[in-house]
Symmetry: C2
Subunit: 431 residues, 2 copies
């Protein structure tokens, strides 16, 4: 079979002929009883191995007293040990007074921030959000399903905003926030975004920092999850939004989050939050009721292991060396199987954990189901949109890090087959 | 100076004479610039040393895959690893299906339970508590200040209930809960209670399990913090309230909490919650939005280190061997300095972390301030009561574990001096 170009230019019999050939291949896979998972952004075991030395880096016979006498083995320290603040304030480009180091989950910190806002409001706000008739959040999409799930839990109405190559559609955002004071927040994964891999442009950052919001207690939830997770030598540069917010006279607008979940161990990492001192003091008051403090020993483990920014960079290069071939393989395969056929488009991320694939409108759900039928699990259809509903039913999030490269190759072959089969069905149905 | 008996039988000049002698001693301490802290129930460094082997018990070259293939180094596992459920379900005398193992803080779990109840209600409840005009909690007192702080944070009205030698005053409780459906919960530290060291009697447990509550969604917050923290060989036995609740047809009434904060490392322990499967499933739904999961590695560290119930018992005996002499010294000193003087009473706990001292009515705040003036820090006056207000101003919580025995001896001498001085002032003012 020769190479096939633009599907849109094939006639019905050519499409049918092609469909039969592809279907045969698909049925072959069916008999293989595959069990492949590209659904979640989980590191692979080789990546986890990079941090194994952290497991026993704290020795039983050592002293764990800080300079100020705090014994890290005992109670004390509400918002993180100074050593961790020192290192991670550099990661987020804030001062050590503008960061809180917490437990093992930045998602938990974001959830708790919103739970607190619902019950008690935010710094400088006039009312607990939960007392208002309606609270809305802007959700640049495709985006991170777990962000959207938090909104659903708290009955926060989500407004989908398109992602452009420069970040979320700022024209729409500026208009919406200037008119509606029930819009209290926006979810952003500003660097190597989940799933598009887009890094917000300087102009987007500035516009977010400067825009007029009708709600005086509007907050940007800046989930900088992939800030050091580069795939290429020339890393994307993300403008410091906190500095931009300060310059714009909106220092309390942004709440930044990150974690080491994909630096060291997912589930046993440490999470952090950065914001204005006023914002943090407002949180600390409630935090001091919620807990006596975070796991200081795990913070110390991280600092001892990651050491400093230079060493962190080297560590992240090792991650990249493991996962980059997987990303490249997926991209090459997409190009060789789907390129020029005019039935799909995708991004080429310079970092992060995902490749975002867009099919023809109305095809993503069928593709995902069809792949699942032969044992290839992809992120649930619609998951990258609020309420799990992709309005164009076209986005598929590919998470290439966990499977081995052999598994991944097979999984992508299946995916490409399914995209072609469903596309042909779609095109034929419209002829 | 001979031994002085009952202060109540001394005349004015005897009291004055005694006051002058005690004041001289007090002033001597003033010149010593003491800095002693009996304010919080923190383990001492010898106790922390008992768990040092846990620090590097997970080796860098080992495999951390569970039987079911879960890699404990990676994401996964919302509610605790099976090994931890296995061990700690025995501690709380529940089944492995009736326990969730979480992060490093049971306080955090309790806080979050109430935050969820405010926002979403509880299993089987008709309404989020936060939507009700008023929510009330029963607070057996003296009790744990951090429980009361959670109520204050959520604007939950606290009703003080007296502690008796058998636990909280059940006559009062039964009456209150049967009449008022805005009473949604009760805080209990049922074993070696904070600060009284009282273990609830079987009858108290049964009455709590069986009583008629006007609120159908009433919950007992059962903070079993000191369940294995015995000071004597003959440990107190606490009746299993969960079993009692099931027998009484109220299986969803109780939510049990505990942690290893005072077993291994405070701040780096693991926390747990036990309840009916229906209660836990209700929580899990929300938990799955809040976090991807707890720190599985720290759970594994604990299981590897504590091993099983027999070994846990041996471990706790080592704790007891370190802190029992401190408790004995305090009790002996209280007896020799204050015994028979009729100005103070105290408990003799068989476990837990505190000695609860009651002065004459109206004296505790002055005693605590007077001790602070010479550098002896005690738990804040009133802290053991809701809103920080001890209605009789008489309760002082002594936390003897952290200081060395020499420091402790000095601190208790100061405390006993202050109790006598303030008592004499009080008696004289009433003559």
């Amino acid at each position: 079979m020769g190479s096939i170009d633009n599907f849109m230019e094939l006639n019905v019999s050519e499409l049918n002929e092609h469909y039969v050939r592809l279907k045969e291949k698909y049925d072959e896979y069916k008999s293989q009883n595959l069990n492949l998972d590209m659904s979640r952004g989980k590191p692979c075991s080789e990546q986890l191995d990079l941090s194994r030395d952290m497991l026993d880096i704290l020795k039983s016979d050592e002293d764990y007293r800080a300079k100020d006498g705090t014994d890290y083995l005992n109670y004390g320290g509400l918002d993180g040990i100074p050593e961790a603040k020192e290192l991670f304030s550099q990661v987020l480009e804030v001062s050590t007074k503008e960061i809180i180091i917490g437990g093992n989950s930045s998602l938990n910190m974001m959830h708790d921030t919103i739970a607190r806002a619902m019950l008690h409001g935010v710094y400088g706000g006039e009312s607990p959000w939960g007392k208002l008739p309606v609270v809305k959040f802007l959700c640049p999409s495709p985006g991170y399903d777990r962000h959207f799930a938090i909104c659903e839990l708290f009955n926060i109405e989500m407004i989908t905003v398109d992602m452009l190559s420069t970040g979320p559609d700022m024209d729409t955002i500026e208009k919406l926030v200037s008119e509606d004071d029930s819009i209290k927040g926006i979810w952003c994964v500003p660097k190597y975004s989940n799933p598009d891999g887009i890094t917000y442009s300087d102009q987007t950052v500035d516009r977010l920092a400067q825009m007029n919001t009708k709600a005086s207690d509007f907050r940007i939830f800046w989930d900088d999850a992939y800030t050091v997770h580069h795939l290429t030598e020339k890393a994307d540069q993300l403008k410091n939004i906190f500095a931009a917010c300060k310059s714009a006279g909106n220092p309390h607008r942004v709440l930044m989050y990150s974690s080491t979940s994909k630096i060291t161990f997912p589930g046993s990492g440490i999470a952090m939050m950065a914001a204005s001192e006023e914002n943090l003091n407002f949180f600390r008051k409630q935090l001091s009721i919620q807990t006596i403090g975070p796991d200081k020993l795990n913070q110390l483990r991280h600092v001892r292991f990651l050491k400093d920014m230079d060493n962190l960079k080297v560590h992240m290069e090792k991650h990249a060396a493991i996962i980059k071939p997987k990303f490249s393989m997926v991209l090459n395969k997409l190009e060789s199987e789907l390129g020029r056929k005019n039935i799909a488009s995708w991004n080429e991320p310079k970092g992060g954990y995902f490749i975002s694939l867009n099919t023809l409108n109305g095809c993503a759900r069928d593709v995902i189901n069809m792949a699942a039928e032969v044992g290839v699990k992809l992120t649930k259809a619609g998951a990258t949109y609020p309420y799990g509903k992709d309005p164009r039913d076209r986005n598929i999030r590919i998470a290439p890090t966990l499977p081995s490269i052999e598994e991944l190759e097979k999984a992508i072959e299946v995916l490409c087959l399914c995209v072609q089969l469903v596309s042909i069905e779609k095109i034929l149905s419209e002829k």
